[in-house]
Amino acid sequence: MGEQVIQRQRSALRFAVPLGLFFALVILLGVGLTLNPREVPSPLINKPAPPFELPQLHEPDRTFSPQQMLGKVWMFNVWASWCVSCREEHPVLVDLARRNVVPIYGLDYKDQRADGLRWLQQFGNPYVLSAFDASGRVGIDYGVYGVPETYVIDKRGVIRYKHIGVLTPKIVSEKIVPLVKELDRES
């Protein structure tokens, strides 16, 4: 009789093990499918913002360099007039700028100056100023590969947060605003 019970247990195991493996595989693939392959972890987090000096978009004779921002928490947003997603993101930036939470500086990436200026005129300018990166060299230093991209940089000039893609009101209120408040308290 004991042998029969063992037999029955063994045949139950025969189904349970492959079924278990199958579900484990389904869960694994399910998680894999819901991940966003665009969100590549940036190696720049907690590293100093790469230095550069670029002409400003509105005033080509004046330059902008991140070194000027030491001692302030600021947001650096990469945009371009040819970038469709930037248009989607734009109202969020305009709203954030109006609330005076954090100064937003722009990087007009691989753009034509006239196009960039017209774009800001048309949709509103949330930026304190925009640096003009015609060649995209500074973009490479910041690991930019999909505009828009956004960085939050602390008082010591260290990149503390990077977002690739369109900023949503949710990301702004849940990630960026609390982070900026926290960084403002740092000395």
Binding site: V40, P41, S42, P43, L44, K110, I140, Y145, G146
Partner: protein, 156 residues
């Protein structure tokens, strides 16, 4: 008139050179270009993620190829260029991920699964061979005897 004709002829003859001049930068230094393309085949284009920057014509891929070419011209080693790229884009930019703690499963997982599968198969086969066949019941014995008797009977 003659001068004009001559000018036309000269311009016409010069046309191929003018065109050749435009394509020159790409082949100015075939050795360098070969090195650029070899390394470009190792770097992922982050815009079109399943292509290398050698295969892709996305804007960023072209920029990164130019960057690689520039760095090589300045005398950077392949190692230095790869480090430059990973400092900006992370290990993801490497088409062949490096072997480190986080990628051990990726590199050796399939091998581990194969070994486990083989081990399981060997164990199963051994077990099966070791098991003596179940003894026949009386009923089966009787049927077997009847069948045997039957075939022996018809064979004669």
């Amino acid at each position: 008139m003659k001068a004009k004709l001559l000018l036309l002829a000269v311009l016409w003859l010069a046309a191929p050179w003018a065109q050749a001049g435009e394509a020159a930068p790409a082949v100015a230094d075939p050795v360098l270009e070969k090195r650029v393309m070899a390394l470009a085949h190792e770097l992922r284009c982050l815009v079109c993620q399943n292509q290398t920057i050698a295969d892709s014509n996305a804007d960023l891929a072209v920029d990164l190829r130019n960057e690689v070419r520039e760095m090589m011209r300045r005398g950077s080693s392949d190692r230095e260029i790869v480090d430059y790229m990973t400092a900006r884009y992370g290990d993801f930019v490497l088409y062949r991920p490096p072997v480190k703690a986080a990628t051990l499963v990726l590199w050796f997982g399939p091998l581990l699964l194969l070994v486990l599968g083989l081990w399981w198969l060997v164990m199963r086969l051994r077990e099966r061979n070791a098991e003596p066949p179940a003894p026949l019941t009386d009923e089966e014995r009787r049927r077997a005897a009847a069948l045997l008797a039957d075939t022996e009977g018809s064979a004669r």
